[in-house]
């Protein structure tokens, strides 16, 4: 099986600014351009290496701030790593934020075009897939109404539908499935399985251990920017949960 992603010794350093860093030229002048430099830096990810084969579904677990979203962004080419490299083979689809470019005043249909093109499709491709996108989102009746009348769940369905219609070779999903209702979540998971069967690799960030354990072929556990383990989902999730559990019981300050 061919590789879908190669991540090699990936590192990303974040800059922390002073809490009172001036954000205007006016203030900067008044303070003589003090405090513009970052106060300190920290590694959001460090020495992370792994490969994912095509058609594999990989769960990513870890506490908030462990670097899960940073990892997905770097794989998607948003921002540049400070160390190491990411190699992605083929087209990337992403659901990192709900509906980039969505605007409440535009209709669902107009938003599909904007979001679809922003997600990497051409207009002709969006036109060809439009019916299928609307059909999957179950929004036929609302598609010509402005997005502001949609519920969050409906917006999420539309965004998910567009993202999975980009025929990605790699799909990045960051903790957004929770918005839909149970039935739609099932439908999304089925759709993911279908993409997977066609050779699409999937990276799924989720805090739902059960979803990860039942759906993902393998998992990554990140802690404080480091890859703690990579392998069988059941084992990795157990390790992660055991570690979290240990922290709950550990004496404060450790």
């Amino acid at each position: 099986m061919r590789d879908a992603i190669t991540v090699e010794r990936l590192g990303k350093r974040f800059r922390l600014y002073h809490a009172d860093r001036p954000w205007t030229l006016h203030e900067s002048l008044l303070r003589g351009f003090q405090r513009l430099r970052p106060a300190e830096t920290f590694w959001g990810l460090r020495e992370v290496s792994f490969t994912v084969k095509a058609g594999r579904m990989v769960g990513v677990v870890g506490r908030n701030g462990a670097g899960k979203s940073t990892l997905l962004r770097l794989i998607g080419g948003v921002g540049r790593p400070d160390e190491g490299r990411v190699e992605v083979y083929g087209r990337v689809g992403a659901l990192l934020t709900l509906g980039a470019g969505f605007h409440p005043e535009l209709t669902g249909r107009e938003n599909v075009f904007v979001n679809g093109v922003i997600s990497g499709l051409t207009r002709a491709e969006v036109t060809r897939r439009l019916d299928s996108i609307i059909d999957f989102a179950e929004l036929e009746q609302y598609i010509d109404r402005p997005l502001r009348v949609y519920s969050t769940g409906m917006q999420m369905r539309l965004a998910f539908s567009v993202a999975t219609h980009t025929q990605p070779d790699l799909l990045l999903i960051d903790e957004v499935l929770g918005v839909g209702d149970y039935l739609f979540q099932r439908k999304c998971l089925d759709r993911i399985q279908q993409l997977k069967a066609n050779g699409c690799a999937i990276l799924l960030v989720s805090h739902e251990a059960a979803v990860i354990q039942s759906m993902c072929d393998e998992s990554l556990w990140l802690r404080k920017g480091q890859l703690m383990s990579h392998g069988d989902s059941r084992r990795v999730v157990e390790e992660y949960l055991a570690d979290s559990e240990a922290q709950v019981h550990a004496p404060a300050g450790s």
């Binding site: 992403a94 605007h103 070779d169």
Partner: protein, 263 residues
Amino acid sequence: MSPQNATSSRQQWVHLRDVLCVLVSRDFKLRYKRSVMGIAWSLLVPLAQLWVFYVVFHTILPLNIPNFTSFLFIGILPWNWFQTALLMSSGALVDNRDLVKQVGFPVAILPVVAVLSQAIHFLLSLPILAAFLWFDGFRPSLALISFPLVVLVQFVLTLSLSYVFATIQVKFRDIQHLLGIVLFLMFYVTPIFYDSSAIPADIQPLYRANPLVYLIDAYRAILMRGQFPASPALLVVLGSSALILMVGYAIFMRARNRFVEEL
């Protein structure tokens, strides 16, 4: 590293074109949605400006410039394009943070979207200018074929500055206000309601450091005198704009990876 290295470069150009189309049309739709007057608003603003300046500099403080309506309108329209495009594009990154963070989105297109949508407003108001010119007795001449070139020079100039300001805005969020003040002052050192020849000879060299002087002189030469514009000056503007464009684009691309963290 590019998310789309599997697709051909032709496909990438088609995609870039489509991103441009979709975002420019989104811009238009949002501006005119729920407004009864629709696109007419963008024509009414310059007409109102025209009327005010006409009253001030023809009736109250007469400047005695022949065919003042046409003269004035040729100054107002390119100026408005320049001003609104710069103000809009300086917020291009900060105002579109969801797009900047979108996987596979060509961020460098955002300033182009701003300058292009204002260029379309400019082009849409040209028929009205043509009507004024016709009414004042001007007829199209062969020099008109150089008109698109002047528009192109203005496009490149505006775009080059747009990259610079969009980048600075990420670091200093008040640059848009500052730009507003600079543009307000710049309006008076640009030959909009007066002719550039009215500037005293000893300060002409300084005055002509403003590239818009050459552009508006060129528009007037073409439309009112039927002359080809002074090409060396325009070529200098084009050349220096191209230079700023390269530098501006380079710092923009260098800074774009920081945007993701700072927005």
